[in-house]
């Protein structure tokens, strides 16, 4: 008996510290291969990895390190759904994050809701993700209403008369183009607006562009993601449609800060006006500056919004676990609902109103800027609207 007690004591002594160090598993579903936006997936992964290292370097959460378990959803909704199912049931993750394509998020949140596991949306803009009203879904990312409202205000201020948008054929693209129609009606009723949906897997948009050549609009709006967005921009430029002396090109998809942007568009990017969620001249708290410096150290590049959004997604989960003092998914969800969070982009709280603002960072800051030279980094771009500031249209330069 004494021997058994001794053995049990030895086992407990050896095993318990190991148990205390057992990592907290967090599930990440991102596009790591086509046809999803691998560019976005890679950026999200970079942001998450840096934040994971920052958290673990400070002792982890509740004395345990964070471990990220990745699944490749290829930007396909059914794969996103399967990835969420596998991460929750097989890998036993305590929370999910990383989602960056709306159609995939819409599929994955159904699984998270069914298993009552918190889901922190990193970059899915579709309002429908919020409108579902699921208690487990939290949105520190941007949303379509925010972009459409901001773009409609810019369009109204610029006094343009005819606007054509090219959205991609996804929940995000079509959702944003429709919302833009509603906001333009409210804020600039004199503007003639129409949109033409394009295939996100398409390689030739020339017919759609040629139809504009004879009578170019005052503004063309991009609501597509790379690589299709780059092809569209090149074809708009080649046909002399936009950016041109007559027509502005306005990007609502945040293209300009992707690392491969200039390599793919060259001259076609000069003159582009862009809605942005990050600009180096924004006020960033010290932890955000630390993140940016680490990203630059690792990649030699400038960080973009996705790096910050991904880092905030993970930090939110870590903070919620700390506040809940538990890794139980329901306790984490409860903590997230009431959290007063200060992340890499500043402090915020989640909205409670049903609709697009449900569990959303409603006042997420944004900027508008114009690229005036080929290969211009965002930090050197022409900032025409800082966060919370009015537009300064005098700074805009028309293409020659």
């Amino acid at each position: 008996m004494k021997r058994l007690t001794f053995l049990a004591a030895v086992t407990a002594t050896l095993y318990l510290p190991a148990l205390a160090q057992e990592p907290i598993a967090i599930g990440i579903s991102i596009a790591q291969s086509p046809p999803g936006s691998v560019v976005q997936g890679t950026q999200v992964k970079d942001g998450l990895e840096i934040m994971k290292d920052m958290i673990n370097a400070k002792g982890g959460v509740l004395g345990r390190p964070i471990k990220l378990i990745y699944e490749d959803d290829q930007g396909i909704p059914e794969k996103g759904r399967a990835a969420a199912e596998k991460l929750i049931t097989s890998d036993k993750v305590v929370a999910l994050t990383g989602g960056h394509q709306s159609s995939v998020c819409l599929a994955a949140i159904e699984v998270a809701h069914r298993y009552q596991v918190p889901y922190v949306n990193t970059n899915c803009w579709s309002d429908d993700v919020r409108k579902k009203g699921y208690a487990e879904v939290f949105n520190p990312s941007n949303y379509n209403t925010r972009v459409s409202q901001a773009m409609a205000e810019t369009i109204a201020a610029m006094g343009v008369k005819r606007v054509v948008a090219f959205p991609e054929n996804t929940d995000y693209g079509i959702g944003q183009a429709k919302l833009l129609a509603e906001f333009i009606k409210q804020k600039a009723p004199q503007v003639q607006y129409k949109y033409e949906t394009l295939d996100r897997a398409g390689k030739d948009f020339t017919p759609a562009v040629l139809a504009l050549r004879a009578n170019p609009p005052d503004m063309v709006i991009n609501v597509m993601l790379p690589p299709a967005a780059y092809i569209l921009m090149n074809q708009l430029y080649e046909q002399g449609v936009a950016p041109s002396a007559k027509t502005w090109l306005y990007d609502g998809a945040g293209l300009a800060d992707y690392p491969d942007f200039w390599q793919n568009v060259k001259e076609a990017g000069k003159g582009l006006i862009s809605f942005g969620l990050y600009h180096p001249r924004m006020n960033i708290p010290p932890i955000g500056k630390e993140l940016a410096a680490e990203y630059t150290k690792r990649t030699k590049g400038e960080p973009n919004r996705l790096i910050f959004q991904a880092a905030d997604s993970l930090l939110l989960i870590a903070e919620a676990i700390k506040q809940a003092k538990s890794t139980d998914p329901k306790a984490i969800t409860k903590a997230l609902q009431n959290i007063k969070f200060s992340g890499v982009r500043g402090p915020f709280q989640f909205g409670k109103q049903p609709g697009y603002g449900f569990q959303q960072w409603v006042d997420i800051p944004y900027v508008n800027y114009q690229l005036t030279e080929v290969n211009q980094p965002v930090s050197k771009s022409n900032l025409i609207q800082g966060p919370g500031q009015p537009l300064d249209l005098k700074k805009l330069q028309k293409a020659k």
Partner: protein
Amino acid sequence: MLAVDLFVNGLIFGLFYALMAVGLAMIFGVLRVVNFAHGEFYMVGAYTYVLVAMKLGVSPWLALPAAAAAGALLGAVVERLLMRPLYAGYASWSIMKDEYAVVVTFGLSLLLINLVDKIVGPYPYRGPALTELSRVVLGPVLLNGQKLIAAGVSLALLVGLALFIKRSLWGRQIQAVAQNRLGASLAGIDATRTTSLIFAISGLLAALSGALLAPLINPSPDVGAFPAMKSYVIVVLGGMGSIWGAMIAALLLGILEAFFAVYVSYDYRDALGLLILILVLLFRPQGLVGEKGREV
């Protein structure tokens, strides 16, 4: 004015489609199987062009033959390692010929996409253009200089291929093997070597098509899916296995799509090809210039 623009752009895209589809038609004509990895020959050509020109700093005009050589080599290797069991002594494989071809070429397609994704990376790469002229004015038509050169090279290649098939000894051997493999062998033609040649030509044409378009389509690992889909439609529309039919069908599809996109619906432009595919299979399975049947 718009109609002229659409016609010219449609014709140019038709030439690109033709360059892709002809190789697929040749393989089908000889082996009666569909190569589901044909789009990846195109992708390999696009990437070879981009990487040789950008990473090695070689002139784009020299990167073009490098891409062609890579495509030809890939085609020949695929024939030797994967397709030869279909006709060279593996009796058990020839019984399940269709199933084997579908599985092996589909598997090859996925393998090549994932290899490029892991080795080169997922980011799209815009290849350097053969000319710096971004806009060329031809009467009422405004064209990208690269597009114009690519169309010219495509046309020259298609004419060259037509002459090669019609006039050269090897071309006549290809025709003979396509008409009757056994008969050609009895007449002293090396059918195995001819099949190898067909795969090499098919790979070369698809790779050149990808290389010529690399500065326009920003290749990513899945770039071959779109032209491969068009090629299947074209091969059926032109008449399964008919090289001339594939050329005519490609030009026709390019023009039809351009007009359909503007005057009917851009959204359904790609569906037009698939609708044509179904209608042709239902009402004219021999295609535009194909034969109804063949007996020897």
